[in-house]
């Protein structure tokens, strides 16, 4: 075996975005030694691309807001499929997490009385998103990055070394999570990673591993996600005994750029609509008024006049339907384009130029102005943008304990952020992602530290290590295989075409058959060049994970015979209360993936009482409603 670098840490965090960094900070604060492994440089993770804001019911702009309203909005947005306990914790703890960022140096935009300003967003009853222009994710990741540096400076003073207890391994990718060989009591033993610059392997032995790897959008051709989003955490959780849940629910963000082709999919923040932008079709019609679904009828304006009044008088008017949850808006755009009422490049128009003065647009949406000017030659202060749906976020993820973020089925494994499942149900509200990262990143850090105290430090066997290394080096030895780039492009085309925003049984079945063909092609991948900073090899290591996750999406999409949130079936267009009672869970069995239904936990009567019965009856079965009624009486 080649000589490899070896480390022992209490906690290994995979991923250095918002969730990973927040988890690392917490575990370090609890006195543990922590390694953060990141595919990118420190401070470049996908969180940096988040634009609109962090949802937290601080009530700075409208003092009617509180955690109960936020909880209700989150459940509604997710069509009541959410893990209610996670939604409760999230709504309760988000304000503290935002204030904490401020105490670490974050500089949010302010209200007139000097508090953190909050903006409107789709599905949120009140202005709730703490923000910095439209670059909130950058502010968040930089603040967490700088907090980590602050902790390292404290460690340096105490011990002489910045990296005494908290070390960032940048450009160090994980290929495998090891488990101990203890049968029923098997638990996490460590991970194998490789330095991207040198291609050399590194072994980390640790009692706890926190997945904070983000999402899976790179399985799709049109996506707002970067190359990193290959579903690594989702796939590795399955491979080491964990479960995935809700994988049929993908969020297609309604507004991605559609032109030029090279930027197709790049995100256009929802803040454009939150700050007054409207969606129109080729006939100039504000079409969202035609798409207000039954369950939201009482919450959205039905005339343009009322919708426009809402921006200045939200207490006495209903909100514009442009601010419906993302799944509704994305489907509506899709329908308009299919009906031939789209924009020249196959999207619809999003116009803020006629709604706000140019200087306000530049102040509130600086990076959108910049992005369109530089990449599309469009001045958004003068003309409308063309936008269309883009694969943005996966609601599904690792099944975890709601309080501790401990993965079900894999002891010592934790998951936080996008890779975790449950919080968002079938559809995530904008702004709830950044708060999710902070709330559950912290919890994962805290409870992983507690877990470490209950076990002995594990070791990884030489045999397991050798097997993992051999697997990772295999693409170099295949003589006449195929380049991974072509396979990835084909996979993305296939998923976009067959398991995209609107799905149907025959197409998903076709996708599953194609996935089997991809397995054959991938087993025989070949890479050129050596091990030093070789992106072809890196892709060859990510691709099998992408494929496994794609299979999970397709399998779940085929199984759920209804339409809900981020899962729309042409052949089952309605939402079915019977299906709301179940999550779809995936588990690896040898080389196969099994799928089964699992009952959703029933909301506590206290939480159920936050909704009126008329609303719950739109989602729940008679049986559920009567058992809830008994619980509350």
């Amino acid at each position: 075996m080649e000589q490899i670098e070896r480390y022992k840490f209490d906690v290994v965090v995979i991923g250095a975005g918002g969730a990973g960094l927040r988890a690392a900070i917490e575990a370090r604060e609890k006195g543990k030694t922590v390694a953060v492994l990141s595919k990118s440089l420190f401070g470049k993770a996908h969180t940096v691309m988040a634009e609109g804001g962090i949802a937290a019911s601080m009530g700075n702009v409208n003092d009617k807001d509180n955690w109960m309203v936020h909880f209700g909005d989150t459940m509604r947005g997710g069509k009541f499929l959410n893990q209610f306990r996670m939604a409760e914790l999230h709504a309760k703890e988000a304000p503290d997490r935002v204030w904490e960022l401020e105490s670490w140096g974050a500089l949010f935009d302010r209200t007139k009385d000097g508090k953190i300003s909050q903006r409107n967003f789709g599905g949120h009853e009140y202005p709730r998103l703490a923000h910095v222009g439209d670059r909130t994710g950058l502010e968040m990741i930089r603040t967490l990055q700088q907090r980590i540096v602050a902790l390292q400076q404290i460690d340096k003073k105490a011990s002489g070394s910045y990296e005494e207890s908290l070390r960032i391994f940048a450009e160090c990718s994980v290929t495998k999570i090891f488990m101990t060989d203890e049968g029923e009591n098997s638990r996490v033993a460590g991970v194998l990673a490789y330095w991207r610059p040198s291609g050399k392997f590194v072994l980390f032995e640790s009692s706890a591993v926190i997945l904070a790897t983000g999402g899976i959008g790179k399985s799709y051709k049109v996506t707002s996600n970067s190359w990193e989003y290959t579903g690594d955490g989702h796939a590795m959780a399955l491979e080491c005994g964990g479960n995935l849940m809700n994988m049929e629910f993908l969020q297609f963000h309604p507004t991605g750029m559609v032109w030029p082709l090279s930027v197709k999919g790049i995100l256009v923040t929802e803040s454009v609509r939150g700050d007054g932008g409207v969606l129109t079709n080729s006939e100039g019609r504000r079409f969202m008024f035609d798409y207000i679904p039954e369950v939201f009828k009482s919450k959205y304006a039905t005339t343009e006049e009322e919708a426009d009044r809402w921006y200045t008088d939200p207490d006495n008017n209903l909100r514009p339907p442009e601010l419906l949850p993302r799944d509704e808006v994305a489907r509506a755009i899709n329908t308009e384009v299919k009906a031939g009422r789209g924009s020249p490049h196959g999207g619809v128009f999003l116009d803020v130029s006629k709604r706000l003065p140019a200087d306000v647009i530049k102040a509130k949406l600086p990076s959108m102005w910049h992005q369109f000017k530089e990449l599309a030659d469009v001045d958004i202060t003068l003309e409308p943008m063309e936008v269309g749906p883009t694969c943005h976020y996966v609601m599904g993820g690792v099944e975890v304990d709601a309080d501790t973020q401990a993965a079900i089925g894999a002891r010592g494994l934790f998951a936080a952020g996008e890779v975790g499942g449950g919080l968002h149900g079938s559809n995530r509200l904008g702004g709830n992602s950044l708060s999710d990262l902070l709330v559950f990143g912290r919890r994962a850090g805290m409870y992983s530290a507690d877990f470490v105290d209950t076990v002995e430090a594990p070791t990884v066997s030489d045999a397991d290590l050798q097997e993992a290394i051999d697997w990772a080096l295999a693409p170099f030895t295949n003589e006449d295989g195929e380049s991974p780039y072509g396979i990835q492009a084909d996979l993305q085309d296939m998923m976009n075409a067959l398991v995209g925003i609107i799905r149907t049984e025959s197409e998903i079945v076709e996708a599953l058959a194609k996935i089997e063909e991809f397995k054959v092609r991938m087993a025989n991948m070949k890479v050129m060049g050596g091990r030093g900073y070789n992106p072809g090899w890196h892709l060859a290591l990510d691709l099998p994970k992408q494929l496994l996750v794609s299979q999970c999406v397709a399998l779940s999409a085929l199984t759920r015979q209804e339409s809900r949130g981020g899962h729309t079936r042409e052949d089952f267009p309605g939402m079915d209360p019977e299906w709301r009672k179940f999550n779809l869970i995936l588990r690896a069995e040898g080389q196969n993936v099994e799928i089964f239904k699992q009952s959703l936990p029933m909301m506590t009567p206290e939480l159920a009482a936050l909704f009126d019965e008329g609303e719950l009856s739109k989602y729940m079965t008679e049986e559920e409603l009567s058992s809830l009624a008994q619980g509350t009486s």
Partner: protein, 252 residues
């Protein structure tokens, strides 16, 4: 719309390298990074490029395009003539790892030398109150995406590795200024900026501001005001006298 472009891409590693010619298809609306990805997918699978968001938000894909420090994802192909040969080389101030990827750890090491945000001790989270107009100055600097093009361009270190131990570069100096202008920060970093981070080496040629993809006025708004404050503190005769007779400490 499409055409074939001639590219010369620097290939090599820490030891040595050379410019290699590629002829590659270009489509309407593409940026340099798109074209390099096509080279990677079709001709050179192992071409090393560092990138993430492809939307100008992460600051990963810094390189020199025809000698100009740029983000490759924000450099549109229609800014070049079709017959022009486009030369892409790694940013020059940092050691090459491979091809277009450089080792930028210098910047992270220097960043650790700047003492972190230090709020008043009795101020609890949730109780912070700041005016928009007061946060805006530091907010401009917090737009920084850490592409390190500014430091790459700065003549103090661009061809002078020997200055790196005593000069932190515009990015890190701006961080010190950002904290200095934070309405609730209590620490004074002027002396640190001058003596440890090498602010005095900056002779305000504004090259850093010119290449900043976020259009931050690094020199005008961060470095010059910082220099002025240092000068106030260092050359104010009363302060100087005060420091000598220890009425007032030097770094107050």
């Amino acid at each position: 719309m499409g055409y074939s472009a001639n590219f010369r891409i620097w290939r090599g590693d820490a030891g040595e390298g050379e410019l290699v010619n590629y002829t590659v298809a270009v489509n309407e609306g593409e940026v340099v990074l798109d074209v390099l990805h096509r080279v990677q997918a079709e001709q050179a699978n192992d071409l090393a490029i560092r990138w993430n968001c492809k939307a100008g938000k992460c600051g990963s894909c810094s390189a020199e395009v025809n000698g100009k420090p740029r983000l490759m994802c924000m450099t549109r192909m229609n800014t070049f003539e079709e017959e022009e040969t486009i030369t892409v080389t790694p940013i020059r101030a940092f050691p090459v790892i491979r091809d277009l990827v450089t080792d930028v750890s210098f910047n992270y090491e220097k960043a650790r030398e700047v003492p972190s945000f230090t709020p008043p001790e009795n101020l609890k989270p949730g109780e912070y109150r700041m005016e928009q107009i007061d946060v805006e100055r530091s907010q401009e600097f917090r737009k920084c995406i850490e592409c390190f093009l500014c430091t790459n361009t700065c003549h103090v270190v661009r061809d002078h590795d020997e200055n790196k131990p005593v000069f932190a570069g515009p990015r890190v100096l701006m961080r010190a200024a950002e904290l200095d202008m934070h309405p609730l920060d209590t620490l004074d970093r002027k002396q640190l900026a001058q003596e440890d981070l090498g602010l005095g080496y900056c002779n305000i040629t504004k090259c850093c501001s010119e290449v900043c993809p976020e259009h931050i006025k690094i020199t005008d708004n961060a470095l010059i005001p910082m220099k002025e404050r240092v000068a106030d503190q260092k050359y104010d005769p009363l302060r100087w006298l005060g420091s000598k007779i220890r009425v007032r400490s030097h770094d107050e």
